[in-house]
């Protein structure tokens, strides 16, 4: 819907991309061992070109720290932030509810339950992918149950969808508590994983989230204009030529896949999917075709910064899920109060 110049929007995208590049370089240099930005670029360059002469003169531990310790973690944080923010935009657009995010639908709890089950039973038949696969099935089964519960006469209403999500989420949380109780001595693994952490990030994880994110961005951009019109409600969007039921299903599945992969790899990280779309809506307005890419970029920056703070700035490493909840919780309260007062942002 651009009759007016898109220059501002393109500038914002450009600025966010530069911010991400800077944040990645700067945070890679931060930590127990401080590394100069030039050295980081040379190490990355050497790895990408395969030309080992580029790293001459750099301490031998530096390439290892950059490539195997810090970069996987930093890229995971950025990709998960982007994925959660993207899911948040999709859920909010479909549920017509500014308070919706992966948690409102119970999807995160479903993924966490599946992953806890895999951790508890020590299922490793699928190697590195055991936890993600179980988390994904947990998320999809939860999504299907929630959608089944809220379907009446072949139609899903946004309100019953949230109610069903909250109910199923509560049941699954109890289920996770029960698993923790059963876990006995292994409980620490589940608890630490549930609080969210990037400490054990690997390049495999980066590839998995990266591929899922690419897929989710393509699908959601494809239906961006439909998503805008769906915010007018089913009756209007149907009569304006949107296959509402089909688009809703596709987008919900995409957002849930994205959420499941994020949860499986890093545990539960709350509020990114809620805060980022809100902040970005102030900047670019409600048009999802702008909101989707901008939120993904901003989510990446925000979670990367949060992870860098807990990893390199704070004296003790606070679990990232706890940090985002501590910052995001109060923010959530502000939004909630504003909504109550009827002061909707525009």
């Amino acid at each position: 819907m651009y009759r007016h110049s898109e220059k501002g929007f393109l500038l914002l995208i450009g600025a966010l991309l530069i911010c991400i590049a800077l944040a990645i370089i700067v945070s890679t240099g931060m930590g127990y061992m401080t590394i100069a930005p030039g050295d980081i670029l040379r190490v990355i360059g050497a790895n990408m070109t395969g030309d080992s002469s580029m790293t001459t003169g750099i301490e031998t531990t530096v390439p290892y720290v950059v490539m195997d310790v810090r970069l996987p973690r930093i890229l995971t944080a950025a990709l998960v932030g982007a994925g959660l923010a993207l899911s948040g935009v999709i859920y909010q657009g479909i549920l017509l509810n500014p308070l919706a995010d992966p948690y409102t639908l119970g999807i995160s709890s479903g993924a966490a339950f599946g992953a806890s089950l895999a951790l508890l039973a020590n299922l490793t038949m699928l190697g590195h992918f055991s936890t993600p696969v179980f988390a994904f099935f947990g998320a999809i089964i939860t999504l299907m149950t929630v959608m089944r519960l809220s379907t009446f006469n072949g139609q899903i209403s946004a309100q019953t969808l949230i109610l069903s999500g909250v109910i199923i989420g509560a049941i699954l949380s109890a289920g996770i508590s029960f698993l923790k109780y059963l876990a006995d001595e292994q409980v620490a693994i589940i608890i630490f994983w549930l609080m969210g952490s990037f400490a054990s990030s690997t390049w495999n994880g980066v590839l998995l989230i990266g591929a899922t994110l690419l897929f989710a961005i393509l699908v959601s951009s494809f239906y961006g204009r439909d998503l805008n019109i769906m915010s007018l409600g089913r009756r209007s969007s149907d009569s304006l030529g949107v296959e509402t039921a089909k688009v809703r299903k596709i987008l919900l599945l995409t957002a849930s896949l994205m959420t499941a992969v994020c949860v499986a790899i890093t545990g539960i990280i709350g509020f990114i999917g809620l805060i980022v779309p809100h902040l970005m809506r102030y900047l670019v307005g409600p048009d999802n075709r702008k909101l989707l890419p901008v939120s993904a970029l901003a989510g990446a920056i925000l979670l990367l910064l949060a992870d860098t703070i807990t990893r390199a700035v704070l004296p003790v490493e606070v679990p990232i899920g706890v940090l985002t909840a501590l910052i995001g919780g109060p923010f959530f309260c502000v939004i909630f109060r504003q909504k109550q007062k009827g002061k909707n942002y525009e």
């Binding site: 009759r3 500014p98 915010s231 007018l232 409600g233 304006l240 296959e243 307005g285 409600p286 525009e346």
Partner: protein
């Protein structure tokens, strides 16, 4: 219905019924609607008028029976093709996240714009004409969630006009408008029917508006079609008594030279 032979029907409903639960909302509706006419759908609250419109737009699918639009069953059309034929002004209108009036009106062009294309000059021309026609140019950059109910309703009517479809469906499209804008929108609709042979199917609560503007009236009660036919023949005190359980007199109004209804307010 003497002129029905002249043109093939626009809509044909055969044995159509609809139900949310066991109790039917619409029961065995048989009807054919002709192009180029102004139809009024009249009946008490909750008699199934909105459901009737939902069935015509394909938003709801009948439980039994068939609905044909231009010789093809309605559910065989894609939503996009249907949206180029039918525009709806719904009863309630909501935008969770505030779009501007201009963006809302432009959404009426959605079925005409390819997925990754920007709106063409022609699309913008339709948007500008629709906004000028309704007279909401000054609201162009206002956010819809800062508008009054009446202003929102006029924006949605402009959106339906921008859709430029041969059929317009109004679900109480003037319920929150004052008398000036109510008459404005009814006159726009009448003009489109008279000069461009478009079809308007409007759910109307005000019987005097129905009597003045509609070529044909469809009286509904308890999910059934009670009377259907030319307004002059169906808009009678007997029909009104049967449908609404209200005493009324229908007489020619010399001021407008149309039939008008006056109600008995209390026992004389």
């Amino acid at each position: 219905m003497s002129n029905t032979i002249l043109s093939p029907p626009l809509f044909t409903l055969m044995g159509v019924s609809f139900a949310y639960t066991e109790t039917p909302v619409l029961h065995d509706v048989n009807l054919s609607l002709q192009p180029g006419k102004f139809y009024g759908v009249v009946g008490p609250n909750g008699c199934g008028k909105t459901t009737f419109l939902d069935l015509l737009t394909g938003c709801k699918i009948p439980r039994t029976g068939t609905i044909t639009y231009k010789d093809k069953e309605l559910h065989l059309y894609s939503k996009r093709d249907l949206a180029r034929q039918l525009a709806l002004v719904p009863q309630e209108f909501d935008t969770g996240f505030g779009f501007t009036v201009e963006e809302i009106v432009l959404m009426g062009r959605h079925p005409h714009i390819d997925r990754f294309s920007a709106p063409s000059d022609e699309d913008w021309r339709f948007v500008d004409e629709a906004m000028a026609c309704i007279g909401i140019n000054d609201l162009r950059q206002r956010y819809t969630n800062s508008l009054s109910g009446g202003q929102k309703q006029r924006a949605v009517v402009a959106r339906a006009l921008a859709q430029n479809s041969p059929v317009l469906l109004f679900d109480e499209a003037t319920s929150s408008l004052d008398v000036k804008y109510t008459l404005q929108i009814f006159n726009i609709a009448r003009h489109l029917v008279r000069t461009e042979k478009r079809t308007v199917i409007a759910v109307i609560h005000n019987l005097n508006l129905a009597a003045a503007y509609c070529d044909e009236c469809i009286f509904m009660k308890d999910g059934r079609l009670l009377r259907y036919g030319p307004t002059a023949a169906t808009m009678t005190s007997e029909t009104i008594a049967e449908v609404f359980d209200v005493q009324a007199k229908v007489a020619l109004d010399p001021f407008n030279k149309t039939q008008q209804v006056s109600f008995q307010y209390w026992e004389q």
